[in-house]
C-alpha cells in the first residue's frame, strides 16, 4: 500500500510500529516528484503533464497531491482527468492528450493501473510517453515479485521510465 496512514488502516503516523496487531504489510510510497524531474530532463520542453486518477482512492489522492505540489514547483501544468471505473481510463487518457498533455503520468492508482494497456494504446495514438510509478504489467515475474497483476507484455510496448519498489517484508 502506498500510504497506510492516508488509507486509514489504523497505523500511528508517528510510529509505524504502532498498528493493529493483526496487520502486516509495507508502505510503498514512490517518488512521483523524481519521475517528473526525470521527465523534464528527458524533454526540457515539457509543459503539461496528464494525470488520470480516481478520487475515491486514498492512495491515489496522496500521489495526486504530490504531483500537484511538484508540478507547481517545476512550473508544469498538471492536467487531471478523473476516472471512476477502469473502462473509462482509455477515454480519459485520450482526453488528456487532446488537451495537450506532453506525457501521461500514472501514479499508483489501481483503477488506472489495471487499464495500463489502454493508457499505453492512447499514448501511442497521441505520440506521447507514459510514465508510471509501478509495474503492474511485467516482462518477467522474477523481476517484479510484488506486482499484483499482469496484463500481458505491456512493458515491451510502453514508452516509459518506471520506478518500482520491490516488496520487502
Amino acid at each position: 500500500m502506498a500510504d497506510p496512514v492516508a488509507a486509514g488502516v489504523g497505523i500511528n503516523p508517528n510510529d509505524p510500529l504502532d498498528h493493529p496487531k493483526n496487520m502486516v504489510g509495507i508502505g510503498t510510497l514512490v517518488p512521483v516528484g523524481e519521475l517528473l524531474e526525470m521527465a523534464k530532463k528527458m524533454n526540457p520542453r515539457l509543459k503539461r503533464v496528464g494525470l488520470p486518477w480516481n478520487p475515491s482512492q486514498a492512495n491515489s489522492e496522496v500521489y495526486t497531491l504530490m504531483a500537484r505540489d511538484k508540478a507547481a514547483k517545476m512550473g508544469l501544468e498538471l492536467l487531471e482527468g478523473t476516472v471512476d471505473a477502469t473502462p473509462a481510463v482509455g477515454e480519459v487518457v485520450a482526453s488528456l492528450a487532446a488537451r495537450g498533455a506532453d506525457l501521461i503520468l500514472t501514479a499508483g492508482d489501481l483503477t488506472v493501473t489495471v487499464a495500463m494497456d489502454a493508457v499505453i494504446a492512447e499514448c501511442r495514438r497521441a505520440g506521447i510517453p507514459a510514465f508510471a510509478t509501478q509495474l503492474p504489467w511485467r516482462p518477467k515475474a522474477r523481476c517484479w515479485p510484488w506486482a499484483p497483476t499482469t496484463t500481458g507484455s505491456g512493458a515491451k510496448r510502453a514508452t516509459l521510465p518506471r520506478v518500482s519498489l520491490p516488496a520487502r517484508i
Binding site: M42, N43, I128, A155, K156, R157, L160, P161, V163, L165
Partner: protein, 47 residues
C-alpha cells in the same frame, strides 16, 4: 515485545523502452545518467 525491523529505504528500479522513442512527436531522449541506471526492455525488433 519483539519488534520486526522495518526497512524504510527500498531499492528503486527504473525501466525504460528506448525503442519507443521513435514513436513520439516530441524530442524525448534518455540522458546518460538515466541510461546508466535503467533497465531497457526494448526488443531488438521492436517497431
Amino acid at each position: 515485545m519483539n519488534r520486526i525491523p522495518i526497512i524504510y529505504s527500498f531499492p528503486k528500479r527504473l525501466v525504460i523502452n528506448r525503442a519507443e522513442l521513435r514513436r513520439l512527436k516530441e524530442p524525448w531522449t534518455f540522458p546518460p545518467e538515466i541510461l546508466a541506471i535503467a533497465k531497457d526492455v526494448s526488443e531488438p525488433d521492436a517497431s
